[in-house]
């Protein structure tokens, strides 16, 4: 064999992600370059420690990519805390200024998929999205009547304080996400995949947890989604 198969891939096509495509195509090119310069067969070259790509090779690819001005989206708080220069700033909840109103003329500031059917709940919206917020609530207690607004469908960020929430509204995931599973186990009313518009920390809200549980297999039905209404 005279060259790595990957360079003559008949059915290959670019990856969907710009970042991934840049990285993988850069690595392919680097492998091909090192291989061609080695004068070895592929069988000799593939496990040759002298030809292995190094940490510096991978670092240079990322450095070159960042030099284009691209900034990554973050998923874990620790990533942006440790390397803020690599990531885009965290976007907050938007406010279109044109929210619809409910039957009583109150602003509907969001909708979501109901994990299980409970009773409607009025409480105070509190954004729980950082380690610092969770630590504060862990040390000082979760304020009574808190409906936690969470942008993370995982079960770990809020693990030590989840039981203290009166309700949960999660801006990500699905009813099958870990947070959905846990709130059901704890019998804490929860909306997943919530879309919010004009909700602020400290707002008094009513959440329609009395809506039937969302069918995980059904197509999205906007009319069936539970509403989040701003009371004050």
């Amino acid at each position: 064999m005279s060259e790595p198969n990957i360079l003559s891939d008949k059915w290959g096509k670019p990856a969907m992600s710009e970042v991934l495509e840049y990285y993988h195509s850069s690595i392919r090119a680097l492998v091909a370059e090192k291989f061609a310069a080695s004068g070895k067969t592929w069988q000799e070259a593939v496990n040759d420690p002298a030809l292995e790509l190094t940490r510096e090779d991978f670092q240079k690819i990322e450095d070159d990519f960042l030099a284009t001005g691209y900034r990554f989206t973050m998923s874990a708080q620790v990533s942006i805390v440790e390397e803020p220069e690599k990531y885009q700033p965290i976007a907050g909840v938007g406010d279109s200024g044109s929210q619809p109103k409910d039957e009583q003329g109150r602003l509907i500031v969001g909708t979501g998929d109901n994990v299980f059917q409970a009773e409607d709940l009025e409480g105070t919206a509190r954004f729980v999205g950082t380690v610092e917020t969770v630590m504060d609530m862990l040390m000082n207690g979760v304020p009574e009547g808190t409906i936690a607004i969470i942008d993370d469908s995982g079960g770990t960020l809020t693990a030590p304080i989840l039981e203290g929430f009166a309700g949960v509204v999660c801006m990500g995931g699905t009813i099958r996400s870990h947070l959905g599973i846990l709130t059901r186990e704890y019998d804490i009313p929860c909306l997943m995949a919530a879309e919010l518009d004009g909700l602020s920390d400290g707002d008094r809200i009513v959440v329609e947890y009395s809506k039937p549980a969302t069918d995980a297999y059904a197509e999205r039905d906007d009319a069936a989604r539970a509403r989040i209404v701003k009371v004050s």
Partner: protein, 516 residues
């Protein structure tokens, strides 16, 4: 010289590889999306796959020097530990994930490492076939998403000794709260992944169904980050057989998660038990099951232990660096088969709790966005360049011209354009503090040396000699014989209701004897 593999062997290998590709696609696209603001989940998942690729061949060979995959599967089937349906069924998936990434980056060809691939996939098939021997399948998905793992002798004990409960009573309340806390603690200690939770069954109990709910690796043991914070938890693995009325579990998938019709409702729970077990136990050992009140009190006590551990562990993890979070999640994923090494008595944290240097070098480009894209395209969209196939192709579930895992080209039977192995694994490294605590087992808290020595000298009574091969098909025609009675009595030795009852009990007999 062509590869040292026959046409027939390669066909078997590619068939299992393709099956793995299909079932993992189904799981990844229909079950759940995993994310966390605390842990960089997708970067650690992707990195774990590489660790599996580089290290599984060598450590599996080390285990097999002591015990065959068939015996490992048999041992795992007799108890509940982290060698279970989810962990064992996912071995080849993580390993092939590392291979696919490397193919996609041009660092290996589909014809590289074929002796290792053959070995790892063969090992995975053999251990899973043995573990699933009762049903005759290899994965839960083969049985239309059902996990019937246990023989009658074990299930009879679970049914007979279960304690009745109803909504609002002390035991019912304790079980509901316990399940919630245990689930949450399991997600946290496993760095957001669900590998600490396992469900199997369902099993028919008259007009009801029994689901076996396991929580594993709860106490001080293999994960160094549990040292200290989990020392108050007395049992490393616990099992709750839960008997439900008016509920049909129509799915227990390859990841041990279930769906029921109608939806699972605690109010339908009519009886429950609590057991512990591991690689050093003679089957399942009842835990505080003398009566319902005692069991409820203990569940509340253990729940308190787990709540304390959750708070302390969370504080510890919240102070970790990103690299430490990556390593913890990576090692949880990579170490899914670790209990096989415990069973064989060759567990070594240097094998299972280290990140290979060939993986460490990749970390610079595992930012959150790349990690997320890598996992999404690899197992969800199947959109990596290396996954694309002839435009005529229609894959099993998506109809797309792509498949998750690249099959091994049959050209290896005709030419010498292949390699056999990955280079030997080095010592590895980790950013996490080293293991200092002991290993929590059913024989007490042991040093590593003690645990390995006990494991090497132990064979559960139900697997000694011919017992190992006395399955339910044999019992069907041999119930009441001295050999069958001895086998059943070995399983019944800790039972409240069935001790020494032997092998002839019918379903009606058990119904009369049971406690609920």
């Amino acid at each position: 010289m062509p590869a040292n593999i026959s046409y027939n062997e390669l066909q078997d290998l590619n068939q299992f590889l393709q099956k793995s590709s299909d079932v993992f696609y189904f799981q990844c696209t229909t079950r759940t999306v995993q994310e966390s603001k605390l842990f960089p989940v997708n970067p650690y998942i992707a990195l774990s796959y590489y660790n599996c690729w580089y290290r599984y061949p060598e450590i599996f060979r080390k285990i097999e020097e002591v015990m065959t995959p068939e015996e490992l599967g048999d041992r795992a089937r007799e108890v509940s530990m982290s060698a279970n349906a989810i962990m064992l069924g996912i071995i080849q998936q993580f390993y092939l994930g590392g291979r696919q990434f490397l193919i996609d980056m041009g660092m290996i060809n589909p014809t590289d490492g074929i002796d290792d691939i053959k070995y790892v996939l063969d090992f995975a098939q053999r251990v899973n076939r043995s573990y699933h021997r009762q049903s005759g399948y290899t994965l839960n998905s083969d049985m239309n998403h059902r996990a019937q793992l246990l023989p009658e002798r074990t299930l009879q004990v679970f049914e007979a000794d279960a304690l009745g409960c109803k909504p609002g009573d002390k035991l019912h309340n304790a079980v509901v709260k316990f399940l919630a806390t245990a689930s949450q603690y399991a997600f946290l200690k496993n760095a957001e992944c669900r590998l600490g939770i396992h469900n199997s069954g369902p099993y028919k109990v008259g007009d009801k169904e029994m689901l076996i709910r396991d929580f594993v690796d709860l106490s001080e043991g293999d994960y160094p980050w549990l040292d200290g914070v989990a020392s108050g938890i007395e049992y490393n693995n616990v099992t709750l057989p839960v008997i439900m009325k008016d509920t049909h579990f129509h799915m227990v998938d390859d990841w041990g998660s279930f769906e029921a019709t109608p939806s699972y409702d605690h109010d339908n729970m009519v009886a429950v038990g609590l057991y512990t077990s591991d690689y050093l136990s003679n089957g399942y050992i009842p835990v505080h099951m003398d009566n319902a009140s005692e069991l409820a009190d203990y569940l509340d006590h253990m729940r308190d232990q787990m709540q304390t551990a959750t708070s302390e562990l969370w504080k510890r993890m919240a102070g970790w660096t990103r690299d430490q979070m990556i390593d913890a999640g990576l090692l949880v994923y990579y170490a899914v088969p670790k209990d096989l090494a415990h069973i064989a008595g060759v567990y070594d944290p240097n094998d299972w709790m280290m990140v290979d240097e060939r993986v460490q070098r990749l970390k610079p480009f595992f930012n959150d966005e790349y990690g997320g894209a890598a996992i999404a395209e690899l197992v969800g969209y199947i959109s990596l360049s290396s996954q694309q196939e002839s435009p005529y192709t229609m894959s099993k579930y998506s109809n797309a011209s792509s498949d998750m895992w690249s099959k091994i080209p049959y050209s290896v039977l005709a030419d010498d354009n292949f390699t056999s192995h990955v280079p030997p694994m080095g010592p590895g490294s980790t950013s996490l503090p080293p293991k200092t605590g002991k290993y929590t087992t059913t024989r007490g808290r042991l040093t590593l040396e003690e645990a390995n020595a006990l494991a090497r000298g132990f064979t559960p009574e139900t697997l000694q000699g011919a017992n190992r091969f006395y399955d339910d098909q044999w019992v069907k025609y041999n119930a009441g014989t001295p050999a069958a009675d001895a086998l059943y009595k070995a399983t019944q030795q800790n039972s409240f209701q069935l001790k020494d009852k032997g092998s002839t009990l019918t379903a009606e007999d058990v119904e009369k004897l049971r406690r609920w």
